[in-house]
Symmetry: C2
């Protein structure tokens, strides 16, 4: 944490955990008898309970979206650039709720949680969760907090898919839907990259069919590889060139002619990303998240017709994409825009010029923040006091 | 093999192996005292020894570029679409030489070869080979065959880099240089994908620091992952969509909600590609090939100035790129074209419209074959009988 908190920070925050005892019937056919959701809130819920904003996280995200957990923290939450007093998601105006999704590894019930029925971690026995399941569980969290309708549901990447699913599943429970750097479903290439990540984890001998907790180990190598391949797809060719070029790690500028040492800077960067991810993330959760991505396809229930899937939505939409995002390109956002316009829904769409690839959605790029802020002012103006 | 050989096939071919006893000083500082190169030839060398065409292979290629090894073969050589009587590289006119590169695993000296000094396979002790080393060894093969000047040196991808290196290293030993789907050096993103592939192999417990031969095993999982991630980069998002879409493998159209079975067709395709690669390729060779790619950077010796690097080339050039190739995009070919034009060299460049990504260079796409054939007729017209 910086020595003096910046005035636009939400400051020190404390995660909370809600316990739910109404069984949750999942898409996979199984039922979770009870579960916990860990979440944070920023700002104050108004008397009309009309200023709630739900933040949905992406593949490796969690509930800690803004502020600091302790004075020792070096970094704030993952979307601190967008959430805080005076920021686009203005905590002077909104009551912001950010949760760790079901199946996660940061407090909400997931594979690392001890299964009360067995006294051991769920591990591979944790059911596969879909985006629809998440949205159902998020609606229950809203109920618990007294929020029957969100001013906005907001997410980037896999989080954007949850926002989109909200608009379909609970059309009258959100006034605005903000979908950033997302897609209406994965392409074959997207699924292929997820499959490589999964195979890396599943084939690691220390995965032990998902029961690695019992062996006091983790599939380090597999999870590291999964993160490395994922990370490449979050950046653009251009941003990697700008960041690393073909710079060698050692100033000596000589090639190693060996395999032991990382010699190009991009190699040591990737290895570092992979290694540090292993220390903070669970492999079973990673597997679950990739499946939720692969399975997301709201049009599938409507004869592969996205327009039909979005026919009943009531929210107003903002979609944002980034020029150099090749994981979920602007064309994918335009598919959603088109389907909404086919239904004569109210939709704003901006494509932001950025060299930063898919990761751009997490960055405080000025035109992006301007569009976001202007839209959120419009959201705030519709809030009943 | 088809029951009746097509008239434009080179037919049954037999690989040959040449033994070289003049020590080869390598870029890495080590010396190979002697080595074998396995190669095939198609067509007949003319009296003037002026109709030789050298084919340089890519990452996972070998000497078997055209025809069949036996009547049992299901598939011909890897570039049979381009090599044969009446095909672009017309074996009625040219004497075509195709070799397995040094460090390979298909007959030429490489990690799988028994080191005469130790009586064991070289394994990880095999030196790292550069594109320049390959070209030196290829020139010696040319000497042995009596070819002091090639009518053309031709390659795609990593093979194109070898052709480019030929034009720099032996400017008077080739009349034409044909560089297809290549780049003057890898980008950071390219290196990053190679690094993931290498880490997959190096971290496989069955890699045994490269000495897996002694343990009677192979790093299957690592090599499979390396191939899977590589394969994604050979295809385009569009071609994967066209090939697989989001089609499920089972006709039942139901999701598995599990990790054991491949459920999308793209998953089973990738797994198949990975598995079958393990049966035909050596992991140490794969590592070497990726390093040769990473290290290739002819401009580095000329203050990162590609124009300066190409100043002394004498060959005429044909460059071909493909619109959907995101591994080595058209922009990378244009860098070479620009550097050649800066030097007022003679260069033809065609960008071929294709949805097939990097793999397009191996496919008999009609406009591609037409350009190729027309250019090769020009090459043939300059051949002294």
């Amino acid at each position: 944490m910086p020595e003096i908190l910046p005035p636009d920070s939400v400051g020190l925050v404390t995660p909370q955990t809600a316990h739910f005892t109404i069984p949750l019937a999942l898409d996979c056919g199984r039922v979770l008898p009870s579960y916990d959701l860990t979440y944070e809130t920023y700002g104050t819920l108004n008397a009309a309970c009309s200023n709630g904003v739900l933040i949905c996280h992406a593949l490796s995200g969690d509930h800690h979206a803004a502020g600091y957990h302790s004075t020792q923290d070096k970094k704030p939450g993952w979307w601190d650039s967008a959430i805080g007093p005076g920021k686009p998601i203005d905590t002077n105006k909104f009551f912001v709720v950010s949760l760790n999704n079901l199946g996660g590894c940061k407090g909400s019930t997931g594979p690392v949680t001890v299964n009360p029925e067995t006294g051991k971690p769920f591990g591979p026995d944790f059911p596969i969760i879909t985006v629809r399941d998440w949205v159902t569980s998020q609606a229950r969290l809203g109920d618990m907090l007294g929020i029957s309708q969100w001013a906005a549901v907001i997410g980037g990447s896999l989080g954007g898919m949850q926002a989109l699913q909200w608009s379909i599943q609970y059309p009258d429970r959100l006034r605005h839907c903000i979908v950033i750097a997302a897609a209406p479903k994965l392409s074959a290439q997207n699924i292929a990259f997820n499959e490589v990540a999964r195979q890396a984890i599943l084939s690691d001998p220390e995965f032990y069919a998902g029961n690695y907790y019992e062996y006091n180990t983790v599939p380090r190598r597999g999870l590291m590889l999964a993160r490395m391949v994922g990370h490449i797809t979050y950046l653009s060719d251009d941003s990697m060139r700008a960041k690393f070029g073909r710079e060698l790690r050692e100033a000596k500028g000589k090639l190693n002619y060996g395999f032991d040492e990382a010699e190009f800077q991009v190699e040591s960067y990737l290895r570092y990303q992979g290694r540090s991810f292993v220390d903070r993330f669970d492999a079973n959760t990673y597997l679950l998240m990739t499946k939720a991505l692969d399975y997301f396809d709201p049009a599938a229930d409507y004869g592969d017709n996205l327009t039909a899937a979005l026919k009943e939505v009531q929210a107003k939409f903002l979609l944002i994409s980034f020029t150099s995002d090749w994981r979920f390109s602007s064309a994918r956002s335009r598919e959603i825009v088109k389907a909404l316009l086919d239904n004569r829904k109210i939709v704003s769409f901006t494509e932001i010029e950025s060299p930063d690839g898919h990761d751009a959605f997490l960055m405080p790029i000025e035109p992006y923040m301007q569009v976001f802020e202007a839209y959120m002012k419009r959201v705030a103006s519709g809030v009943q006091p």
